[in-house]
């Protein structure tokens, strides 16, 4: 069963659009949350203006990681030269699936990173003396929240680079199985990252908030944040395992 190269190109462009389109939604929302927190903080504590502004800028730059990943995947889909005619249905499915995985996969993590940064800005306004430590904690919390987006990036890169071309003599049933397995892998890791990303973002946001209220307990709060985030991460790891199995073991 042949597939001409135009259809593979259609799949690649569709995947690129889905990836960066979905990925931009919550990146924007997250940056807005951080800027909102910063504005509120400046209103409450105008003397700490410089510190709040710095925290806000750094938080916004760090919260855009998932959006940048989505952009990398869409650029690779457009210019990477994957549209070879011998790829067949397999190639079309992997290209579409890579876009879906990274697009949906950046929804949760950016939202979580944005919430965490917003709380950190308010917290710096409440306790400017501990601003540096709160900023470090914010960066760690955002990094934890974006771990699941990195899983999505990993699956997208694997789908792009390490899947085989379609063999010549192969039955339609086998093609269907493999194609839908690729799409299923993209959906699994894509939806699987939304929950953990948003949840860990909530943990990090609460930790930042409490660090501003009770700065004496900061090491204990940080340890609890790490423990809770590591356990919330487990469902994202299950999704990663299922996606691996769907790509390589079917």
């Amino acid at each position: 069963m042949e597939l001409s190269v135009e259809y593979i190109r259609i799949a690649a462009y569709l995947g690129a659009g889905i990836s960066v389109g979905l990925g931009a939604i919550t990146t924007g929302v997250g940056s807005g949350l951080i800027a909102g927190g910063g504005s509120l903080g400046v209103m409450k504590q105008p003397q700490a203006n410089d510190q709040i502004f710095r925290t806000m800028l750094i938080g916004q730059a760090a919260s855009q990681t998932a959006g940048i990943f989505a952009l990398v995947i869409s650029m690779l889909l457009i210019y990477g030269g994957f549209d070879t005619p011998e790829g067949g249905w397999f190639k079309a499915a992997t290209l579409l699936s890579a876009g879906i995985a990274m697009g949906i996969g950046s929804l949760g993590p950016s939202l979580g990173a944005g919430y965490s940064g917003g709380e950190a800005c308010k917290s710096v306004a409440r306790m400017p003396k501990h601003g540096n430590f709160i900023m470090g904690n914010m960066l760690i919390g955002q990094a934890l929240a974006q771990t699941s987006a990195i899983f999505a990036l990993l699956i997208s890169l694997l789908l792009l680079y390490s899947t085989p071309n379609q063999p010549v003599d192969i039955s339609i049933g086998r093609i269907l199985i493999k194609t839908l397995a690729f799409i299923g892998a993209g959906l699994a890791i894509g939806f699987g990252t939304i929950g953990p990303g948003a949840g860990i973002g909530y943990v990090a946001g609460k930790a930042n908030d409490m660090m501003g209220r009770f700065p004496k307990e900061k090491s204990r709060i940080m340890r609890t944040m790490f423990l809770g985030a590591a356990i919330s991460q487990s469902t994202a790891i299950y999704s990663l395992v299922i996606a691996f199995l769907l790509i390589f073991a079917v």
Partner: protein, 84 residues
Amino acid sequence: MDNITLAQGIVKAAALLGAGMCMGMGALGPGVGEGFVAGKACEGIARSPENASLITRTMLVGQAVSESTGIYSLVIALLLIFST
């Protein structure tokens, strides 16, 4: 290649797509829920640090229970991949 009919192929393909969607959607709820638990635990530990070990234990038990739906999804996905 092995010879499987179109019908068999459709069934297996639907099972695989279902496995992917099952694990994806199934990870949504537990992730948010466990994050909420851990966030509240952070708040509690900050407010009353003398009860830290108690709060941590409650947090771990609560997360383990919320995790169970995620594990159900994992089991169903593995069944769909390997036993159809």
